[in-house]
């Protein structure tokens, strides 16, 4: 039994007086591959930002590797939801990825080692050939890969991806999940996604986030969870037939 890498207890967060998350308690072991599912506005992104230390909780505690988030932020890789921020900014793909090599509390001069790490991260996402391109010239899916490469360049212990597949086609999604599965051998991974049917064949556990969090320590998404997560019955469709990825449930 490994120690929990993330421990959240009785976490409350509200935005302008409106409660977003209430009484969230969560304990996640090392090397889990956790899917966050839930409706838009359910608090998935907020929860990630709280775990990263970007937002501060109203009350409750968050411990990551036994420490408050701000202390270990440099060991966390983060792929934000919106990869179109500052789209027309004159910055090359390489410079974006090198941002991931900025060191915690060290002035920023980069060494050769940082360049190599950035190149390796780009290579693993098949984006190395675009390294000198301007970020603005890339498609949404390519930009997404660059941001994932930036997160990987930090060589994190924990990786958060907020809807990484929103702009990526189905082949790209499969490739990305295979890569994440490989990375999962050494890292704890959190992914926010609506690809519930694809997800369940890769993840090890699921958290339904909708004001509160229900954590399921198993890689299955049941209709009951979908009801809870989305607060309305959702038909689970398993297309791409060859393997059926969802457990069947009893007839009604």
């Amino acid at each position: 039994m490994t120690n929990p890498i993330i421990e959240v207890s009785h976490l409350y967060f509200s935005y302008n007086g409106a409660p977003v998350l209430s009484d969230v308690s969560l304990s996640i072991r090392e090397k889990e591959f956790v899917a966050f599912i839930g409706p838009n506005g359910g608090g998935k992104t907020t929860l990630i930002k709280l775990l990263l230390g970007i937002l501060k909780p109203d009350c409750g505690t968050i411990k990551i590797m036994g420490q408050p988030p701000a202390k270990v932020a440099h060991r966390i890789g983060y792929v934000p939801q919106d990869v179109s921020i500052n789209k027309s900014f004159p910055i090359s793909v390489m410079d974006v990825v090198l941002m991931g090599r900025l060191q915690f509390h060290r002035w920023s001069r980069l060494s050769k080692k940082d360049g190599i790490a950035a190149k390796n991260a780009l290579e693993s996402l098949e984006m190395l050939k675009f390294q000198n391109r301007k970020i603005d010239d890339l498609s949404g899916g390519q930009r997404e890969r660059v941001f994932i490469a930036r997160a990987l360049a930090t060589d994190p212990d924990i990786l958060f991806l907020d809807e990484p597949t929103a702009n990526i086609d189905s082949q790209g999604r499969t490739d990305l999940y295979l890569l994440l599965k490989e990375l999962n051998k050494t890292k704890t991974i959190f992914v926010v996604s609506h690809d519930t049917m694809v997800l369940s064949s890769y993840v090890t556990s699921v958290a339904c986030v909708n004001k509160d969090v229900h954590y399921h320590d198993a890689a299955e998404i049941t209709e009951e969870m979908m009801d809870m997560g989305y607060h309305c019955p959702v038909e689970i469709i398993a297309h791409g037939i060859p393997h059926r990825i969802l457990k069947t449930h009893g007839d009604k």
Binding site: A73, P80, N86, M99, L102, R150
Partner: protein, 274 residues
């Protein structure tokens, strides 16, 4: 133009133009990519209050203006960091208060009828050699600090959330950088006037942005563009006996419109060139 260089005032004008281009290219690029043009304009106009203070109390120009501008810049930065979406109103107020303070103090300054136009449009043809040394020092300081903090500045400009996550002291760097803008503006007003400062801080970087793949290239290209505008404006002003600051602005503005038309008709047909 070449024979004009035998005059010291002309040599000083060319050197001042060179340093102004360098500072504007580097600092202006940051101003444009961070969408801080309004804030830079606010500091430049608030600096006018500092000019009034310097003349009224008889303190040296550099001291009074620099102190006042840095104070205005600090207040503006604090407001921007606290509430980005409403900062423009506050900057607008400081902008006006600075100018009004300057005018009233000049009214009250006994026996001194200052030429306001020279502070608005500068007097690049009347730059004393002592100011050239100020500019040399400032350019050196600006380039060195920008080089040292380049990666941090780039990170907070592009994605401050991620920068914070990586441990970059975002607020500190932000204050430092806006302080650099204020210092640049003060020195440049003496030479090129506060209206030309804003024109030089914005037009060359804006044109350069579209043709640059990285921020450092944008800085180099906008420095070159600012240099070309300065020199050709100076030459036109000298040849046709026009106000130098206003001529430089119009040259820069003409280039700005030409680049816009070029983009509209040419780049649209050849998107691969960008």
């Amino acid at each position: 133009m070449i024979e004009a260089l035998q005059f010291e005032f002309m040599r000083n004008a060319v050197i001042a133009g060179f340093f102004a281009s360098l500072i504007c290219g580097v600092i202006g690029s940051f101003v444009v990519v961070n969408r801080l043009v309004f804030l830079a304009g606010g500091i430049a106009h608030a600096a006018f209050g500092g000019i009034g203070i310097a003349l009224f109390f008889g303190v040296p120009y550099m001291l009074g203006t620099l102190g006042f501008s840095l104070l205005a810049a600090l207040i503006m930065t604090a407001v921007v960091l606290k509430n980005k979406s409403r900062a423009d109103t506050f900057i607008g107020i400081l902008w006006a208060v600075g100018m009004a303070t300057g005018i009233i103090l000049l009214d009250l300054t006994p026996g001194y009828n200052v030429n306001l136009i020279s502070y608005l449009f500068g007097s690049i043809l009347a730059v004393p050699t002592s100011d050239i040394w100020w500019m040399l020092g400032l350019s050196f300081f600006t380039i060195v600090s920008t080089g040292f903090f380049y990666r941090d500045l780039l990170a907070i400009s592009y994605d401050d959330e991620f920068a914070k996550l990586r441990g970059v002291p975002v607020n500190l760097i932000y204050f430092l950088f806006i302080g650099l803008i204020a210092v640049s503006i003060v020195i440049l007003i003496r030479v090129v006037g506060l209206i030309l400062v804003i024109a030089l801080l914005t037009i060359p970087p804006y044109i350069a942005e579209k043709y640059s793949r990285s921020l450092s290239k944008m800085m180099i290209l906008s420095t070159i563009l600012a240099g070309v505008f300065n020199l050709s404006g100076l030459w036109l002003a000298y040849t046709y006996n026009l106000t130098s600051g206003a001529t430089i602005i119009l040259v820069a503005a003409a280039a700005f419109f030409i680049s816009m038309i070029f983009d509209m008709f040419f780049l649209k047909k050849h998107p691969e060139l960008t």
